[in-house]
Symmetry: C2
Subunit: 571 residues, 2 copies
Amino acid sequence: MNKHINRAVLRMSDIYAPTLKEDPSDADIVSAKLLARAGMIRKEAAGLYTFLPLGLRVIHKIENIVREEMDTHGGQEVLMPFVQPAELWQRSGRWNAYGAEMLRVIDRHDNEFCLGPTHEEVITDLVSNELRSYKDLPKNLYQIQVKFRDERRPRFALLRGREFMMKDAYSFNADQESLDETYDLMRDAYINMCDRMGLKYRIVQADPGQIGGNATEEFMALAETGEAELVYCDCGYAADIEVGECHPQPTQYAADALTKVETPGVHTIAELAAFLNCEESATAKAFSGKGEDGSVWVLFVPGDYEVNECKADRLVPGFTPLTDDDMAKIGLPKGSMGPVGLPEGVKVAADESLRGIERWVVGANEDGFHYVGAKHGEDFQVDAWEDLCTVHEGDACPHCGLPLKAARGIEVGQIFKLGDKYSKAMNATFMDEDGSEKPFMMGCYGVGVSRTMAAAVEQSHDDFGIVWPAGIAPAHVCVIPLSAKPDEVTEAAEKLAGELSAAGYEVVLDDRNERAGVKFADNDLIGWPVQVVVGKRGLAEGTVEVKNRATGEKVSVALDAVEAAVDEIIA
Amino acid sequence: MNKHINRAVLRMSDIYAPTLKEDPSDADIVSAKLLARAGMIRKEAAGLYTFLPLGLRVIHKIENIVREEMDTHGGQEVLMPFVQPAELWQRSGRWNAYGAEMLRVIDRHDNEFCLGPTHEEVITDLVSNELRSYKDLPKNLYQIQVKFRDERRPRFALLRGREFMMKDAYSFNADQESLDETYDLMRDAYINMCDRMGLKYRIVQADPGQIGGNATEEFMALAETGEAELVYCDCGYAADIEVGECHPQPTQYAADALTKVETPGVHTIAELAAFLNCEESATAKAFSGKGEDGSVWVLFVPGDYEVNECKADRLVPGFTPLTDDDMAKIGLPKGSMGPVGLPEGVKVAADESLRGIERWVVGANEDGFHYVGAKHGEDFQVDAWEDLCTVHEGDACPHCGLPLKAARGIEVGQIFKLGDKYSKAMNATFMDEDGSEKPFMMGCYGVGVSRTMAAAVEQSHDDFGIVWPAGIAPAHVCVIPLSAKPDEVTEAAEKLAGELSAAGYEVVLDDRNERAGVKFADNDLIGWPVQVVVGKRGLAEGTVEVKNRATGEKVSVALDAVEAAVDEIIA
């Protein structure tokens, strides 16, 4: 914990922190409500927010932690332009690929630019002229900067805004081994960051998505309100359900040969299992889609699992489910789809787990009929065996076999091994030890700075307001005199505030001329980790009340023991 | 001087600071050349720059000084969005008025925005909902942020870029007296900033320009390459020549009555004075223009001065010189213009100094003829007497009467009393003590953060490179071992670097495997205030060489006296 930022005592009567009694009408998640009510952020327009002084103090705390961990793990800070020339994106091929989230701009001379949604192109172009030799490698350059992504539907305030603060780092390595080393360093740095920020989090296997690359992990702050679903195990394993390995345990339906069964009124797997008096895991579920190359696929997974479209996309790039029109055109039935007798050219993929099931229960491509005993390799062919299912809570952990638990999370950081995707596309090379020109191996490493602020609130609040972890609180202690006029109470409060400040804490003095109830409510809402209440009665006995915001516990403490009491709560 | 940022020793072998032997071909001013050659900035596109690690360290030094001075002078830091809704600018009336420097953007839902060139609108809108009572005032809110101005011709790198870093502050006061107090506080803060950054500067009277308001001063870093011309006096007076008070001393041409004189071939004031055998100061020079309201004016100043268009604009809003076409239409001659017999409706203004000259020498509105002895109030009328001249080097100081000196400067800061211009336009009011609603009195206070970095280089460099003032240098000391392999030299250098770092200095160790000449050249170019050279010969006698970059002075210093020697240079 950094106790040494801003030693001066802040005064509530000065601070521009207008608290609100009511939630803003358009606040759609708890952090949006509490950060606005605590006078820390204000909405300017959809997805655009102003940080007021207390909110910005939290942002600066996060930035400082990120900066220190980056610097001590081999990072060097740079700052690239926010406005980027289209030409760079055209070279990487992403100018057209990026989509509407990238806001395009035309300058007064009719040149095209974009508002930087990310900086792979800019940094790759920058270093490609400067890092010429393997001797210059590795380098890991980072920046802390505003990004802009023109979200179709900005929501959840700082969690999915349009303009947001991010730390983005890019490493340039000579080979995979060096990239692996930098990646591991960054992973350590991120663990330190999350620990210092007081987050409850999991490191999960994730989907490389639009950025590309071949290995990536996300740092997920656990919160019920998180958009991401994940599974985890006490052994340390965790994964986004979009990518988590899945090992279903399908069962064998007893049938010796391909047999067509009339199944009137059966439309769901549950109905089919009930009709056949078997487990859902003894049936195979079909899901159809097409790739960006126009190929049509029917995917099969055990009946008790769902097809994971993210995994389907890895097998069939650009995978999108077929529409009713598509299906009619191709000659696929809407229900009762199965692998036997599919129209010519339609390919079949199946979950790896089904390979060991000799005879399947499947649709007969005819409404009201199914097959039992359909044998792969004989009655139909499988073009690809893949991990295609979405993992479930309770599935066996792929590392230790114990049942997986489910949670929801907010992505606060992500680390990627990009490989040579961008360096190849942009022809960014260096001369290796053997004299040959090679593309850089790259990694990239992001932290959502403003998003982390919101994530901390999502996972740490109560009915009264925010409960800041000490590492990122706008200040550590608020000293609250139950008096406003100069008297022995205000004098003692001033003295105490000065002493705590001198001891290295960031201290706020609530010197406002307000009723005690208003002060208590506001300070609970703002969420300083510690409150020290100075009242006439206690003072007569030489004591004040020290409140731990997180637990709500209040204890009467002698004036000369306050610092020790604060130490205990903050530690 | 802040000695406590980043105590770790930096290593030149790690730092991403690619120095260049040649100036970039498009670098058009010394700071553009040196900052690029020293590996501190890189051009991304016209007016868009990346800050490399050493350059960003300088920026952070400047930011920290600005932040500390703002915080100790009543400022509170906030952060507003960079992308701003058009609607706010429409309310203030500046959406159309701002011109092409404001880059307009359309989002995916066809809403209009701009990239923030400044933030008066956003902040006024923000506080108008929150600062409701005189009890909440004054407040002074600032931010340190990237701005964008789409300059027609971006040039001089960081001095006139398109994307640049700025500290902008806005104060909200209940009345003029409070605004005056905040303005004076900011003036003190700016003096401290400039002093701590080691700038040679003048505080000059300036032109309110597009921002508006009724009083403004600029903080000008003195540099021969500066765009601004200024006059100053040792008594402390200084002004931009666009606004500096001017008190010409015109002389009286001896003539008793209006007399027309044939002046063949006389086209200039010099020719006229020679023809009449008088001082140029005995003649009156004419200059015609029109206001935005369509009014046509002829302005007269003493023949040895020039009309100042900035002052003309104060008299005649939107003042623009007449074109030849305009003049032909109105019936004004191109040469020999004078106040006698002007076409109907043309107004006359004259410099205040001419009021005391009874009879003037002027054009006769007829090519080849002049009048002498033209008497104002009789032969012609003067509609307005104003300060209309551009001040000269050598003019009497308006404060003390000594001759003014001329200089050139780079504006690094500007402070404004805006008054109620924005609050009235945007209907931003508070309830005063007497219960009445009043518009805020506002001030605004800017510092060009990235521009200050360039200004420091413009005023502090030599043939070998940059000479950073200690307050904003990327590090204080570079320790240069004249060896790269592990030996007693590198060992002593490491030890010394560690000791200086422990003493609170920011230390760089040039541990590169390079020849001494390369190291000396690079370190002179980068411009650390102190170099400590560790060589075999000196070490044998227990000494190293300490070089003061600014003076070039090198002294041999005993190992245990190095810290004291560094202290002396840095202090």
